[in-house]
């Protein structure tokens, strides 16, 4: 049995999901020869540490670690002090400077710890730097959950499509925009009405700019460009148009001619913009779904679709990354 000591940094929606998935899948993971032990959880209030592995019951119903933390250390200091093999970094994302996640990931990699993250910010700001840092320290940096949530995209390309040249990836990478456009088309809602509905359902944030202006999608385009296409690009290199100006009339005109309007991110052209998608295209998925079409030289075009966000869904992608680090290592040995 291989014991894996995990430090969880960030205790928001995704952090909760990670604890829950590790708990639910404990037996299955043990059957695979892995004993995943979350030895610490850190948020801005402090760190909860238990060498034997934290019992999720202790955190049941808690939204933060206030009053629960048993160590006063946070952030980089916590990563440095606590003896762990792997850091799961799930703090809030910032696409401009990448902090605090960037510092956390740098610290973990420098300490020789593997890192699994769902945090786009650090990767958008410093992908190649972090990748090199991982390599120099002989550890792995995995980030499947940053693009398309639970939808397997990066691992699909790196593992199953290995040997293929990837010519392009285009798709819907933001569930909030897809939900708003779907409702505008189906119910003839105005943009602002559909946005309000999405906000009431918790699908859109109170400040929706990050989603509806295409910023989130552009971040994912940057990550795909750097990781899959070996480019060295930043957020500013992406040409971004959001969905605020889309009208129900435009959606209706498009529908009559056999099209839907979707916010499409495209690599390597580095564009994010609303586009006409044929109704019968595999990219024409509705609701909050994400979808990606991968154009390859050998395998033709492969399309994957799935839930782009959600606590358990994102955590599932994170746990898959953790497992893949240790299973691929076994093959190496």
């Amino acid at each position: 049995m291989r014991e894996v000591r995990i430090s969880l940094v960030g205790f928001g929606i995704v952090g909760h999901g990670v604890l829950e998935v590790v708990r639910r899948k404990r037996e299955l993971l043990k059957d695979m020869g892995l004993d995943l032990k979350v030895v610490s959880v850190t948020d801005i209030n402090g760190t909860l540490f238990d060498e034997k592995g934290i019992d999720p019951q202790r955190l049941h119903g808690a939204r933060t670690l206030e009053g629960i933390a048993n160590l006063g250390i946070i952030g980089k200091e916590a990563i440095q002090e606590i003896d762990s093999d792997l850091v799961v970094e799930v703090t809030p994302t910032n696409i401009v400077h990448g902090q605090p996640g960037l510092g956390h990931i740098e610290e973990a990699l420098s300490q020789g710890k593997h890192v699994v993250t769902s945090n786009k910010g650090p990767l958008v700001v410093a992908f190649n730097h972090l990748k090199e840092l991982a390599q120099d320290n002989g550890v792995m940096l995995k980030y499947e959950a940053t693009v398309g949530g639970t939808m397997p995209l990066i691992s699909l390309i790196e593992k199953n499509l290995v040997g293929n040249e990837i010519l392009s990836i285009r798709g819907i990478f933001n569930g909030t925009c897809n939900y708003i456009l779907t409702r505008m088309m189906e119910e003839k809602y105005t943009y602002s009405y559909a946005l309000t509905e999405a906000q009431e359902l918790g699908i859109a944030e109170a400040d929706p700019a990050y989603d509806v202006d295409g910023i989130d999608t552009a971040g994912k385009v940057v990550i795909l460009a750097n990781s899959i296409f070996g480019m060295d690009v930043k957020y500013d290199d992406v040409n971004v148009t959001g969905i605020r100006d889309i009208t129900p009339e435009a959606l209706n005109l498009a529908w009559e001619r056999g099209y839907l309007i979707k916010l499409i991110g495209d690599v390597p052209t580095l564009t994010v913009k609303p586009m006409l998608v044929p109704r019968r295209s595999p990219l024409a998925v509705g609701g909050t779904l994400n979808v990606a079409s991968i154009e390859t030289d050998l395998s033709g075009t492969i399309t994957v679709t799935g839930l782009g966000a959600g606590s358990i869904e994102t955590a599932s992608a994170i746990v898959s990354d953790v497992v893949s680090i240790y299973t691929s290592r076994q093959i190496d040995a």
């Binding site: 009339e249 209706n252 913009k273 006409l276 044929p278």
Partner: protein, 168 residues
């Protein structure tokens, strides 16, 4: 190669069948046949337009065969507008001089706006327009889109292109 032909047939039974025969003989693939029975020429003949694909080296044989059978070949040549693309515009489409927007495409000589639909929900609200552009080739479609993007930037219109266009 895709070509089109304008023919004039005598208004007698069997002429249409006869006009299609050389396409079979010279391995042409007929894409469409439009038979204008209601639009007879002053000469009393019936105009027919045929669009087809054929090895260009056989086109003269087809023409010769037709003429030998008394069928008038008015025009034969490449189908000019073989590519088309759908585009949506959102913004003050009409008040930013829709005529000029269309003319910027039409004046190229290699592309034309066909089929325009407009939705104008209210005086101060942005309108939405659907247009189909036809052009002489893929490259010309690409150029037309660049023109439209430029016009869009000038007139503050959101130009929504189809995903297939990216491949052009």
């Amino acid at each position: 190669m895709r070509l089109s032909m304008d023919l004039e047939l005598q208004d007698i039974p069997g002429q249409l069948m006869q006009s299609l025969e050389p396409f079979k003989k010279y391995k042409g693939n007929i894409i469409s046949v439009v038979h204008h029975r209601d639009r007879k020429t002053p000469r009393g003949t019936v105009p027919v337009q045929i669009v087809f694909e054929i090895d260009p080296s056989n086109i003269d044989n087809v023409k010769k065969h037709l003429e030998e059978n008394g069928i008038v070949v008015v025009r034969a040549g490449e189908d000019r507008f073989i590519e088309e693309i759908s585009v949506l515009l959102i913004g003050h489409v009409v008040h930013s001089d829709l005529g000029d927007t269309i003319n910027r495409i039409d004046s190229t000589g290699f592309a034309e706006v066909e089929d325009l639909s407009l939705r104008m929900p209210g005086i101060d609200e942005p309108s939405s327009a659907y247009m189909r552009i036809r052009a002489t080739g893929k490259e010309e479609i690409g150029t037309s889109l660049s023109i439209l993007r430029k016009v869009g930037a000038e007139k503050d219109l959101l130009v929504i292109e189809p995903i297939e266009a990216e491949k052009i």
